[in-house]
């Protein structure tokens, strides 16, 4: 095969069986790779209603047919499993260098099933695959684990690992690769922990076969020029990283503050990308073959020591900052470093602490439960709870379940700012209607990267963020194209400058498949519908395509979007209709036929 490596590695941790399977060419064409191909595998192989922590759950590390090639920013892989946070499909995306290494070792996907009796790690050196003891690494942070495993294997090995949060089954534990890159959301690290799998180490020395080298090179150069000249990819992200959004989003009055009670944060300037660049930035860091280099290496003074790490990104700054009313950027950065070390999603962590802070303000939670006063703005409280949550210690054991279970436990489910039990990211949808529909319909629960309408509604200001008209169509287009980008293995950030007709020639030249614009977008639509079918089979339905009551009933109290709520019902009806789904959000027989899913 060209483009694809053509081999899937399967490891059963219960039996120790290691097998290599041939990738089916038709499946590869129809589901592309990474997110698409792994979702298809999960859909076909996971028995319905399996508990996410049951050994039968699959944990799939999947790269795309462009991952590791010279295509710009094609550095990504997806971690796919059934989520212990949402009960829905989880597809968590990360970049760095590890994803390409999986391909250089000869594989498109690594499927892990079963559960080991003892802590183990996988050591993959090209076609040699071993299950090794990880007793020496259990209980260690992700950085130390990375170093210990490279000592035991190969200094050039690239490592995926979990920290203490994954070991302790924190429902929003992520996995970390290349020491600082996170497939952070939906608790994929907790599933890894439930399998007693501490890490996967990969060293690959092979190459990727490209069908038409000249056409591929030409497409790469054309895309590179577009990326370099695009305002976001050529200037904004390289210069300021994602955190440049803090002031922009706050100016639009949609920076969710104090658990989405407000849309403007008085401390925004102190936690902005400009402040981060001025005070903490050491240098940029990029993933493989990426001219954008949006990663930030930062340094803080912490208890007399200089500490260095990566981040925080816009979303973490918001969740650990404005969401909790905290404006201390060094503290936010420290908590972000800890999240990487513990392997824990900072978005859900911050949003869960924010929910606890509101429960505390309401008098529902008291010091008796929390062990400490917990007011909005309390940075030290956040710091302390970060550690306790990762360790599942004291009140941290409750927070480790996420905000939906926390708010439910204390009889105030409406105070969890989540959909499908996954917490929202950093945009108040009352002032950007399309992203509200996006949160409600996202197949992995509250999330911005399944359908980033903020690009059109705010960044490019191409459509009015306050109107709901036309947003269903906009969102569907973005969701389907995002499925394509995630599945080929490119970074979503390229979509600020590239469209489907820029991805198409790369994919065709690499694989030799004759995709057209239509068939490629249809593959995206197929993947979206397949994820939907997975969720429907798990018992999710229309009632889960909803938003926290606050966003539907409480108008934003001030700022540019003052007086607005999300007009969800009308957008959702239109969305179902345009998707070819019935009133309950089920794809019709006709739609399934058209997509080859019937």
């Amino acid at each position: 095969m060209y483009g694809w490596m053509g081999t899937i590695l399967r490891v059963n941790l219960s039996t120790g069986a290691i097998t290599k399977e041939k990738l089916d060419e038709n499946l590869a064409r129809d589901y592309i790779g990474a997110r698409g191909l792994a979702s298809k595998t999960l859909y076909d192989e996971l028995p319905p209603r399996t508990d996410p922590f049951d050994p039968a759950n699959l944990l799939i590390f999947a790269a795309g047919p462009l991952t590791g090639t010279a295509a710009t920013s094609a550095s990504r892989y997806n971690v796919v499993t059934k989520s212990p946070l949402t009960g829905a499909i989880a597809a968590s995306n990360s970049g760095g260098y590890l994803p390409a290494e999986i391909r250089y070792a000869g594989y498109d996907m690594i499927i892990v099933e079963g559960r080991s009796e003892e802590p183990v790690y996988l050591w993959i050196k090209d076609d040699q695959v071993e299950i090794r003891s990880a007793k020496a690494m259990w209980g260690k942070g992700t950085r130390e684990t990375d170093a210990l495993i490279r000592d035991e294997t190969d200094d050039e090995a690239k490592i995926i690992s979990i920290g203490i949060a994954g070991e302790k089954l924190v429902r929003f534990a992520g996995v970390i690769n290349d020491r600082e890159r996170a497939a952070g959301r939906s608790g994929v690290g907790a599933v890894m922990g439930s399998k007693n799998l501490k890490a996967v180490a990969v060293r690959g020395t092979g190459g990727i076969k490209i069908k038409d080298g000249a056409a591929f090179r030409e497409a790469v150069l054309r895309n590179l020029a577009k990326i370099k000249s695009g305002p976001v990819t050529g200037e904004g992200l390289p210069t300021y990283g994602t955190a440049i959004l803090v002031n922009v989003i706050n100016s639009h009055g949609i920076l969710p503050t104090n658990n989405f009670q407000l849309g403007e944060f008085a401390g925004a300037e102190a936690i902005s990308g400009e402040t981060l660049t001025r005070d903490l930035l050491v240098r940029n860091r990029g993933c493989l073959a990426c001219p954008i280099g949006c990663g930030r290496v930062t340094e803080i003074n912490w208890e007399g020591n200089r500490e260095r790490g990566e981040g925080p990104e816009y979303e973490s700054i918001w969740a650990l900052g404005a969401a909790c009313g905290i404006s201390d950027l060094e503290l936010i950065t420290k908590v972000n470093f800890l999240c990487n070390e513990y392997g824990m999603d900072p978005i859900t962590l911050g949003a869960t602490v924010a929910c606890a802070m509101e429960l505390f303000a309401e008098g529902v939670l008291t010091v008796e439960e929390t062990g400490m006063p917990l007011h909005f703005g309390d940075g030290q409280g956040l710091l302390e709870l970060t550690r306790k949550t990762a360790m599942r210690e004291g009140f941290g054991d409750v927070l480790a379940e996420g905000s939906a279970r926390l708010a439910e436990k204390y009889g105030r489910p409406e105070l969890s700012m989540s959909s499908k039990k996954q917490e929202y990211p950093a945009y108040d949808p009352r002032g950007s209607q399309g992203i509200g529909l996006g949160y409600a319909t996202s197949n992995r629960g509250g999330c911005h990267v399944r359908g980033y309408t903020i690009g059109a509604e705010i960044v490019a200001a191409a459509v009015d963020p306050l109107t709901s008209a036309g947003k269903a169509k906009l969102l569907i287009d973005v969701q389907d194209f995002t499925c394509v980008v995630d599945s080929v293995g490119m970074c979503l950030f390229t979509t600020f400058s590239l469209g489907v007709d820029d991805v198409l020639p790369l994919l065709n030249a690499a694989t030799g498949v004759d995709y057209t614009t239509e068939s490629l977008l249809q593959a995206g639509e197929r993947i979206w519908n397949l994820e939907r079918l997975f969720n429907l089979r798990e018992g999710l339905g229309r009632e889960d395509d909803s938003l926290a009551p606050r966003l539907l009933q409480e108008p934003l109290p001030a700022g540019p979007a003052k007086g607005n709520v999300v007009e969800l019902e009308s957008m959702l009806n239109e969305y179902y209709q345009l998707r070819g789904w019935d009133n309950e959000g089920r794809p019709t027989g006709e739609k399934l036929q058209a997509l080859g899913l019937g």
Binding site: G236, T239, L245, V248, H252, E274, Y314, G455, V459
Partner: protein, 82 residues
């Protein structure tokens, strides 16, 4: 002007419409002209907000202003997701 960073500029100037304010701004800061205008027209990558609303959805440069209104100008270089 209180701050200029990351292509984001906050203004504290008086005027009747957005166009008036831009004119005053350029009178005192002529070096900004090429950043904001291209051949007499506002550059397409410049966003102007009045109290957080993009003037594209108000009356463009003719958008009227009140005393306490805040204008925010930024270049569309901001992007982010993770």
């Amino acid at each position: 002007m209180t701050r200029q960073a990351a292509g984001l500029v906050h203004l504290e100037l008086a005027g009747v419409t957005v166009a008036d304010v831009l004119q005053r701004l350029l009178a005192s800061n002529p070096e900004l002209k090429s950043h904001l205008f291209d051949g007499g027209r506002l550059r397409p990558d410049i966003c102007i907000l009045v109290n957080g609303r993009n003037i594209r959805y108000l009356d463009g440069e003719a958008t009227p202003l009140d005393d306490d209104d805040t204008i925010t100008i930024f270049r569309q270089v901001a992007g982010g997701a993770p």
